[in-house]
């Protein structure tokens, strides 16, 4: 009996890439809300931090945003593992314990965010006791992700680290390859978090100026870290400049500036749209960078394509239905009144 060969992609590579980029962008938006928002709540210069109703409302939204971060984070990882299994699994195995500890860290952060949202009705700072450790847990997760995903782009490094130690305690030592990228992500999260805080507190004279300031600082910091990261790419940067992704990057930078402009002008819809599109373009550049880094080691285009069209169609139908159902449920939640029946 000839057994099936499982080395294939069940859809053309571009489909997998589009889905990865789309879902990763959604994940980043939610993650930035939680990570950037928590950072802002804890460190922003608010006069009455814990007594401020906007801050309290924002904290109440954190567990829901965390749920969105987790659920929206599943799909991009799935599509990434589909196209780059050798790179992804190998990097995570070499850092096995750090990777595994992501789960308890996220569980801890999640419960702490719930605890923060349920606590401190009198405006005391008990919320801080929950939010600080939650923030550290989230920073740990983000750092592990940066370390592992960066390692996944360097198969030689994985080989070398594995030869040294096989117990899963290898941290990516090539900090130059991911620390600036990580910093860019964190500062970008501050900018996006500030957008959400500002949106929620658009009529709050205490919150909005802080959000405005942090949006600006976050954006400037992210741009500086991102620029530093690009410079550190050396030869890869030249390759990136020969791909269409460089135009995406330029448009993304312009859109980020546009987003800042609209936000300062209190035009939140165009600001949010520009911010999200710039996020998508950043994800595309990031993807292009991965492809370039892996050149000579692995080309995802080398996969045999054996489309499973009907299951794929079913997925698209479920995806569209889920989106409609989400809109329906949210509308139902906000429109329903206890006395309406």
């Amino acid at each position: 009996m000839t057994l099936p060969d499982s080395s294939f992609l069940p859809a053309p590579l571009w489909v997998i890439t589009v889905l990865h980029v789309l879902t990763l962008s959604l994940h980043f938006a939610a993650m930035n809300f939680v990570l950037g928002g928590t950072l802002i709540v804890l460190t922003g210069r608010f006069d009455r931090r814990w007594g401020n109703p906007t801050i309290r409302r924002f904290i109440a939204l954190l567990p829901g945003a965390m749920a969105a971060t987790v659920t929206l984070g599943v799909a991009p990882l799935l599509f990434l593992q589909l196209a780059y299994p050798r790179q992804m699994y190998s990097a995570s195995i070499v850092s096995g314990w750090f990777w595994f500890l992501v789960i308890p860290a996220v569980i801890g952060a999640y419960y702490l965010l719930y605890a923060a949202s349920f606590s401190g009705k009198e405006g005391v700072s008990s919320k801080a006791r929950f939010l600080w450790p939650a923030l550290f847990a989230l920073l740990y997760v983000s750092l592990v992700y940066s370390s592992v995903f960066s390692m996944a782009e360097h198969p030689d490094l994985i080989q070398r680290l594995y030869a040294q130690n096989q117990t899963g305690f290898q941290w990516n030592p090539d900090a130059g390859n991911y620390l600036l990228r990580w910093l860019h992500m964190i500062l970008g999260a501050v900018a996006v978090g500030a957008y959400f805080v500002g949106l929620l507190g658009k009529d709050d004279p205490e919150t909005f100026p802080v959000a405005k300031r942090l949006f600006g600082y976050g954006m400037a910091g992210a741009a500086a870290a991102g620029f530093g990261y690009l410079v550190s790419l050396n030869g890869i940067l030249a390759g990136l400049m020969r791909t269409p992704a460089i135009w995406g990057l330029i448009v993304g930078i312009l859109l980020s500036l546009g987003s800042l402009h609209f936000f300062f002008a209190r035009r939140f819809l165009p600001s949010g749209l520009a911010l999200f599109v710039s996020l998508v373009l950043m994800v595309i550049s990031r993807h292009q960078l991965r492809v370039l880094r892996l050149q000579g080691h692995f080309d995802p285009a080398s996969w045999r394509i054996a489309p499973q069209w009907f299951p794929f169609l079913l997925f698209l139908i479920c995806f569209a239905s889920a989106a409609m159902l989400i809109v329906y449920m949210v509308r139902l939640f906000f429109s329903s009144r206890p006395d309406s029946l």
């Binding site: 499982s6 799935l78 595994f100 994985i158 899963g168």
Partner: protein, 504 residues
């Protein structure tokens, strides 16, 4: 063997079980609990039972905090863990079922949002709208089970997928439906048991009596539906798999068998303290009932995971990640040429990739106690034939003779190499019995079909000596007796105590 190997101090089985057990207990509750909440809410609203509605709201907080956080994240954790422990199998599953997983993800997103809105909507939504969210939650939670059940059952019974490689053949495999019904019933049972925990903490009044009775019925109904579905599931598994499991996996089979007594005890407890004297149901007793239910469910999961051995995907991939279709390549070229990530120690690399996914040196399923006091020649003879000697629940060793020796050398370096008499402090017949256990009993346990003591009884000293001298010639995989003269003598002395039929 395209991946590095995570050389965990704990066994793979331990880590996997730790995460998986937690996840299945919570995820099944997540389904049944959603059903329970919305059905109970509906009946409470019909009679305007505000006390019961308050109870349900309290339960929904426990439900959301348990299922949304622990349920969802242990599910993600399980995915992380399988990628770390068996990346090759995970890769096969993802390539074949990515759209299944992607569909499940859309259900998961709806399920999570519905649960959050349902929880926050108790006081702020119209009852009908609130229940709509409850129904959406339950329906999508169950649909998640529907999809995951297809991928999970595929691993045990891939069916005609092995011939055609078709998505739907693999998904709707022979155990899909019985497993779905069984798991749905278990979800209902667990909903009742978890709710019983909350109900047991109510004041001992008429309300508690009512709540305990109602929740106990859920437990009883779920259990009543689960038992015949378990039988259906057992019947749907190909006889070759069940027969091999009965012969080679006595412990999980026995656990499954005895757990049916647990199911009986669970039914009695539910009827007694749930229906007859509900007022007497205290938290501690509710916890005992819960533990009994989880142990019963856990024994099924253990059985299900165990009977796949030696495969991770039956007929397609062995537990150590070797694809069946690559057998000839491995036989021809050996393992080392296929191992992509090397540590510089061939013996260690070979041991990890060929054996370590099930065995540790000294932790879970350890080899050290089995081989302490033996030598490289003995281990080197066992390794290539372990799948024959151990009756089929081990993947075949597909490496070369020199690779088997490299594994033997690696193992030997980790063993206690003193004589068995020094290791165990034994002398005389007792030592002979230990020598028998170490050198013979692994493949010829007394009372098993491989028990050869019947033919050993009553031989002369000289015949026993000849037997040991020529052991390597008695059958495929039989190792030579490599013990020293002292061990040889006490083993013969032990043989001389045997009576026909293997009795001492």
């Amino acid at each position: 063997m395209q991946y590095p190997f995570w050389n965990l101090a704990v066994g793979y089985g331990v880590l996997m079980a730790g995460v998986a057990v937690l996840h299945v207990f919570i995820s099944h509750f997540a389904i049944g609990g959603g059903f329970f909440l919305v059905v109970m809410e509906r009946s409470a609203r019909k009679v305007a039972d505000t006390e019961r509605l308050e109870f349900l709201e309290k339960l929904s907080r426990f439900f959301v905090l348990t299922t949304l956080v622990m349920g969802a994240l242990t599910g993600v954790g399980l995915w992380f863990v399988i990628g770390l422990l068996n990346p090759a199998a995970t890769e096969v599953l993802i390539h074949n079922f990515v759209w299944g997983w992607a569909i499940e993800w859309t259900f998961f997103v709806v399920e999570i949002l519905a649960a959050i809105l349902y929880y926050y909507g108790w006081k702020r939504m119209a009852p009908a709208d609130h229940m709509t969210l409850g129904w959406i939650y339950f329906f999508f939670a169950w649909l998640s089970l529907f999809v995951i059940n297809g991928i999970l059952t595929f691993m045990l019974t891939p069916g005609t997928w092995l011939v055609k490689g078709d998505f739907w053949d693999g998904f709707f495999n022979p155990t899909f439906w019985p497993s779905l019904v069984l798991r749905s019933a278990i979800a209902v049972m667990l909903a009742g048991l978890y709710a019983l925990l909350v109900a047991s903490r109510c004041k001992p009044d008429a309300f508690k009596v009512r709540m305990v009775r109602q929740t106990a019925w859920w437990g009883i109904a779920g259990l009543a539906a689960a038992l015949p579905s378990l039988y259906w599931y057992w019947r749907a598994i190909p006889a070759t798999i069940t027969a091999a499991a009965i012969e080679a996996l006595p412990t999980p089979m026995r656990a499954l068998h005895y757990s049916q007594w647990l199911a009986g005890a669970l039914a009695v407890l539910l009827i007694l303290f749930g229906l007859i004297v509900p007022r007497r149901l205290h938290l501690s007793l509710a916890m005992v009932i819960m533990v009994a239910g989880l142990c019963w469910f856990g024994s099924f999961e253990w059985f299900r995971e165990s009977i796949r051995k030696p495969y991770i995907i039956v007929g397609y991939m062995y537990g150590n990640g070797v694809e069946v279709r690559d057998t000839d390549t491995y036989k021809r070229d050996g393992y080392l040429s296929q191992i992509a990530y090397r540590s510089g120690d061939d013996g260690a690399d070979l041991f990890r990739h060929a054996c370590r996914s099930c065995h540790t040196i000294q932790g879970y399923n350890p080899l050290k106690p089995a081989f302490d006091g033996t030598d490289r020649a003995f281990i080197g003879a066992i390794v290539p034939n372990a799948h024959l000697l151990l009756r089929g629940n081990m993947p075949p060793f597909l490496g070369t003779a020199s690779e088997a020796n490299a594994i033997a050398a690696y193992l030997e370096a980790h063993l206690d190499r003193r004589p068995l008499s020094a290791i165990y402090g034994l002398q005389g017949i007792k030592l002979g019995e230990k020598v028998f256990q170490v050198r013979c009993g692994k493949c010829h346990p007394m009372g098993s079909p491989q028990d050869k003591t019947k033919s050993l009884a009553g031989l002369t000293q000289e015949e026993y000596r000849n037997l040991l001298n020529n052991a390597a010639g008695y059958g495929q995989g039989m190792p030579a007796f490599t013990g020293d003269e002292a061990e040889r003598s006490v083993l013969i002395a032990y043989f001389r105590t045997l009576k026909a039929g293997g009795e001492k």
